[in-house]
């Protein structure tokens, strides 16, 4: 997909020089290669018997981390797939709050993607068979923005809806936290 849009720049010679520059706003619409799965799900916040195993972040994370179209698509999926019903706009309700800095299963993008795909014991449904990995990663990117992790330039200030939490563009930034609450 991306090769064709670089070809489309061929008409504007100057632009071609800088085609790959800014990933923040590139609209990736990746298909799911057959057989690809969301990360297998071993949580980096655990005990490794016999010494720590170095944890590498899934390479796909950088396509979604600070990518504005992915976060915007995630925001729309968050409403359409009824996540708002349980998590509201980050405040929680049936489901846990997503805008605070307490995480039961880890706040990194790949951990959130695993929670969405596999589901969690106390009522989080498993979406692996209902959403493509692309969509799951977009949702994970949006959930990260609820707790203020991505850069302020990639998030949207409000949705075309009733005003709710303070705009993400003004909320203070938070690092990704580990699984740090009592409940599981």
């Amino acid at each position: 997909m991306s090769s064709r849009c670089r070809a489309s720049f061929a008409f504007i010679a100057v632009a071609a020089l800088v085609a790959g520059a800014c990933n923040r706003e590139e609209r990736h619409s990746r298909a799911k290669p057959i057989g690809e799965t969301v990360p297998a799900g071993e949580s980096p916040d655990t005990i490794w018997p016999g010494g720590t195993v170095p944890q590498t972040l899934d390479p796909r994370a950088k396509l979604y981390d600070n990518n504005a179209p992915a976060i915007s698509q995630g925001q729309q999926l968050f409403t359409q797939m009824n996540c708002v019903g349980c998590h509201s706009h980050g405040g929680g309700g049936m489901g846990p709050a997503l805008m605070d800095d307490e995480w039961r299963y880890g706040g990194r993008i790949d951990q959130i993607a695993t929670s969405i795909a596999e589901g969690r014991p106390n009522g989080m449904p498993s979406w692996r068979s209902k959403l493509t990995t692309d969509q799951i990663w977009q949702l994970a990117a949006y959930v990260r923005s609820l707790s203020g992790q991505p850069s302020k330039d990639a998030v949207s200030s409000r949705a075309e809806a009733m005003s709710n939490a303070t705009p993400q563009t003004l909320a203070p930034r938070e690092p990704a936290h580990t699984s740090d609450t009592a409940e599981q």
Partner: protein, 656 residues
């Protein structure tokens, strides 16, 4: 006045009087080559790059405006070619939808904001002081500031486009598509901030033009004797001052919606998506007249010179200009006939949109009457006027068609509208612009453009234009909406789109030919005397290219066509200082000499202020705090710019 004048005051007056004697002034005692050498030293700018950046000479700033605008015209044209290649055949997947949306947004924004309005201001800033017989515009530093703001706006937009964060929401950016939810990232903010840049630049240039036209005319050039181009630019400047704030408000509200989550356009929280459209088109329609009216000025100038007689019925043309300027503010809702507003309201706007055609029709009559009553000589500028009349009237009439609600409901947002506004913008503004550039080229550069190349260029662009844009009427009627990156086969749109694509390349070739002619003539063109076309207005009394001080002595005007009526030498008025930059201010209506006005010298502060304001605007896309902290350097720069110099001398009442 019998009151006893206190001793101290009397002694002070005598000292001033003695001092006044010592000032060197142009006049019988100082004239000819010695005067011109002194004036040259006083009025030329400092040497080197600092001088180049600090110049406040209206001719240099005018030249920069024109060159930058023509560069953006070329860039916008290349985008148009890319769009036409994509639309040459149906179901083409050559350019991705995302890229195509960026292309047509950049094409629209570049042509409207970075080419059309600035090129008109550029030509006006260069020619108006010469045409009015003065040595500089009012507020020359504001003029320099205006150019830099325009330049930075263009760099911001095109820089973002090349960095792949260019806008993809159309040059009109309707909310909620341009709102925070449906335009992720900073694409829409950059577009909105470019609007702020170009709008500040246009407002600054408008203030400069209004003050120059009203206060610095040559003595004797009453309002009734002012050239029609000056009238056109006066009306345009006033329109800019009244229309630009609307879009400034709209784009600032859009940025605040996108940056801090206000609800101006959020229908849920009782905002309204149509608020954007009303504010944008309240600016949008006057904007297109801001582009068209200077072109009517160009046509009047060319017709007068090449028909060897003044334009027929001067008062009618002036009244037509003014009424067009006023009526332009009353018909913006004809862009919104399909948004479900009450039908009776729409009929007011139908009649207003039809009424605005009458003044333009009268102007066209006057030009034709001038041609009928004079002896038209069909050199290149006059050819462009004929091309203008043939093309623009088609656009004007298709405008009358879409002014009617039932017709517009079918034709709105289709390629019929694309044809209409290209006819009135390219036909109505670009043709006269090419004509006037050829006409004033000798005045600006001192060389004549090549006549045969000019004629070939004219016929190529004229025929290429018809081939490109006439089929678009049919494409619109056959159901092709605007801003579509492709169209299905089998709906009958293949032929018109193919013709348009071919025509686009012909027009492109013609523009390239014009540029070659322009560059080639810079060095190989015939050297131009001060009045090569035998024209009647004052700019042809100055040298080609004009000296930094324009006129050795300020001319006096007794009629509408000063050069044609002055046997031999132009009457002049003397007494302006030679050791300091000084211009003569005259009263608004009767243009009787009023004051001597010291002209601010070259300074880097306008550039520094423009950079500070630019940094403020660009950084306020990313954080609201930038508005607070960015304002400090901007305030410092503008304060330094206006910091009062110790007045070594003070303006004195006119002696003679």
């Amino acid at each position: 006045m019998s009151a006893h004048v206190p001793e101290r005051v009397r002694r002070e007056d005598e000292r001033l009087a003695r001092e006044r004697q010592k000032i060197a002034r142009d006049g019988p005692k100082l004239k000819g080559a010695k005067l011109e050498a002194r004036l040259e030293r006083t009025w030329s700018r400092p040497r080197g790059i600092i001088g180049w950046l600090a110049t406040v000479d209206h001719k240099e700033i005018g030249r920069r405006y024109i060159v930058t605008a023509l560069l953006f015209l070329a860039l916008g044209g290349v985008l148009a070619l890319a769009m036409r290649v994509q639309l040459a055949q149906p179901d083409s997947a050559l350019i991705s939808p995302q890229r195509y949306n960026e292309l047509f947004t950049m094409h629209g924004s570049t042509m409207m904001f970075l080419f059309a309005v600035p090129v008109m201001e550029g030509v006006a800033v260069f020619i108006i002081p010469l045409m009015l017989g003065t040595r500089s515009t009012a507020f020359p530093r504001l003029n320099a500031f205006s150019y830099f703001m325009y330049l930075f706006g263009g760099l911001l937009l095109w820089g973002a486009f090349l960095l792949n964060i260019g806008p993809d929401i159309g040059w009109f950016a309707y909310t909620p598509l341009s709102g925070p939810q449906f335009s992720p990232g900073k694409r829409a903010d950059i577009w909105a901030q470019m609007i702020t840049f170009t709008e500040v630049s246009a407002l600054a240039a408008a203030v400069v033009l209004v003050c120059t036209i009203l206060k610095t005319r040559a003595p004797g050039m009453t309002l009734a004797r002012m050239p029609l181009f000056a009238w056109a630019m006066l009306v345009v400047a006033v329109m800019i001052i009244f229309s630009m704030p609307a879009v400034a408000l709209a784009s600032s509200m859009l940025i605040s919606d996108r940056l801090i989550g206000t609800n101006f356009y959020n229908a849920y929280e009782h905002g309204d998506a149509l608020l954007w459209q009303h504010l944008f088109w309240f600016f949008g329609h006057p904007e297109v007249y801001i582009i068209f009216l200077p072109a009517t000025g160009f046509v009047s100038v060319i017709t007068e010179t090449f028909c060897r007689r003044p334009v027929f019925a001067y008062p009618i043309v002036v009244l037509a200009l003014i009424s067009t300027g006023i009526l332009a503010f009353g018909l913006w809702v004809h862009h919104m006939f399909a948004t479900g507003l009450p039908r009776v309201g729409y009929s007011f706007y139908t009649s207003a949109s039809m009424t605005v055609a009458i003044p333009t029709a009268l102007q066209i009559f006057c030009w034709l009457a001038t041609m009928w009553d004079g002896r038209p000589r069909f050199q290149v500028p006059m050819l462009y006027v004929v091309g203008f009349i043939v093309t623009f009237v088609i656009g004007g009439l298709s405008g009358v068609i879409i002014a009617s609600v039932p017709l517009d409901l079918q034709l709105h947002d289709t390629y019929f509208i694309v044809a209409h506004f290209h006819y009135v913008l390219i036909g109505g503004a670009v043709f006269p612009l090419l004509g006037i550039l050829t006409y004033w080229y000798p005045k600006i550069t001192g060389r004549m453009m090549n006549e045969t190349l000019g004629k070939i260029g004219f016929w190529m662009i004229f025929l290429g234009f018809q081939l490109t844009f006439f089929p678009m009427h049919l494409a619109g009627l056959l159901g092709m909406p605007r801003r579509v990156y492709t169209y299905p086969a089998g709906v009958g749109l293949e032929l018109p789109n193919l013709l348009s694509s071919i025509g686009a390349f012909v027009v492109a070739a013609a523009v390239v030919l014009f540029v070659i002619n322009g560059l080639f003539s810079l060095y190989r063109g015939a050297v131009a005397p001060s009045n090569p076309w035998g024209a009647s207005t004052l700019e042809w009394a100055a040298a080609s290219p004009p000296r930094p001080y324009n006129f050795a002595h300020i001319p006096v005007v007794e009629s509408r066509t000063p050069l044609w009526d002055a046997e031999g030498e132009l009457p002049v008025v003397t007494g302006l200082r030679v050791d300091e930059k000084e211009i003569l201010l005259t009263t608004v209506v009767a243009a009787t000499p009023d004051l001597r006005e010291p002209v601010p010298g070259a300074s880097l502060w306008p550039l520094i202020a423009a950079i500070a304001v630019g940094v403020l605007f660009v950084s306020s896309i990313f954080s609201p705090w930038a508005v607070v902290f960015g304002a400090i350097p901007a305030a410092i720069a503008t304060a330094a710019w206006f910091w009062p110099k110790e007045l070594k001398r003070h303006p004195e009442p006119v002696i003679s």
